[in-house]
């Protein structure tokens, strides 16, 4: 029920806070979405959409930070495995 899908904001229309909306592309499928809860969303942003309303703007820097951390963990693990299997 709390399913929300990230999509790329293509354009916005309307100035009134309650009525502001945007066209959002979900992998090529384009839908009209309310931007009443994301007044700062601009074209090019990825917004997270739930039942026709954008509830958050996806923070690309935070996403990249997570991947840096996870990749480092993967490399460490690879290193650990090598150490364990390589002959002394």
């Amino acid at each position: 029920m709390c399913l929300a899908v990230p999509g790329k904001l293509l354009s916005t229309q309307g100035e009134d806070p309650l009525e502001r909306s945007g066209r959002v592309s979900f992998g090529g499928v384009i839908k009209e979405v309310s931007l009443a809860c994301t007044p700062e969303a601009r074209p090019g942003d990825y917004v997270l959409v739930h039942v026709g309303v954008a509830i958050s703007i996806v923070d690309a820097e935070e996403a990249e930070e997570t991947f840096r951390y996870l990749r480092a963990m993967g490399e460490l693990e690879g290193l650990g495995a090598e150490t364990a299997t390589s002959p002394p």
Partner: protein, 368 residues
Amino acid sequence: MKFIDEYRDSALVRTLAGAIARTAKRPWTVMEICGGQTHAIVKFGLDELLPPAVTLVHGPGCPVCVTSAEMIDQAIALSLRPGVTLCSFGDMLRVPGSGIDLLTAKARGGDVRMVYSPLDAVRLAREHPGREVVFFAVGFETTAPANAMAVLRARREGLPNFSMVVSHVLVPPAMRAILGSPDNLVQGFLAAGHVCAVMGTGEYGPIAREFGAPIVVTGFEPVDILEGLLRCLRQLEAGRAEVENAYARVVRPEGNKAARAIVGEVFEVVDRDWRGLGSIPGSGLALRQEFADYDAPRRFGLHAPPKAPPGECISGQILRGLKKPFECPAFGTRCTPEHPLGAPMVSSEGACAAYHRYRLRSRSETAA
């Protein structure tokens, strides 16, 4: 799709599963709150990647599963009135009340419609001024902004024929109820990421401290879920009970201020009956007095129906993580997605429906 595909990377999933196996030195039981997380865990088989020491139990985070039978009976009664169009999300239409479900009411002549968004219900009211359009508003905090916005738009447009049956539920009070129960098994939580996207993380600190349970805000893709679980297990092993955010690309500590303002304008906190769990204080949202005109039970003079007697469904034990779906004698026999005895078998996010869809075959193979 960006921000989805990369979180299903199998190498990262294996890395995280390896880290979890090395981290968990003692047995731990962790509950994922949200039904969307439950669905992903069972669909992708994430629980089968975990070491035996780690048990994931599935929480009550499926709003249609916890909507009381009495509330559904009210919606059904409204849908059978001449002149009324009753609309709701697809999942809600197949959950039985004390007798029939809304789709059966439709077969009996009720005007029942499935909508994608509450804003679609407002559009129906605008396009059909001769009909009373009632939206059956269910959901957690995630859905509350959209439902509140529907009321604000109807008021602004002066639509006299739009109203709601509001069955909104709130997550943190349910977490308290689960942790405070004498037979509780849950030692840590994966909090529901999209609830936190709206509400922020401020409500969880007091719960983590009071019950000594770590709470990690977690997303919905395989990498998200395993990262949340790893961070929860690290806390458990270290004896810490803090709030962490493992879904920072979406969740800010303060939540979404604009969304919270809209919700606060339209709704107020009330006590709520949860199906299978009973009444939980301060765990629901209802329309504020100034929006009473949009309150469908009041508009149509409906009285609270009598409490339905409990049936064979053990949803209360499922939703608190005390039993797995396989442990129910009716699972897969008298209770199936086509003929559900209770709500967890109806919604794709219900634990029973997820097990029925993804686990029935592997279980019969094991048995063979």
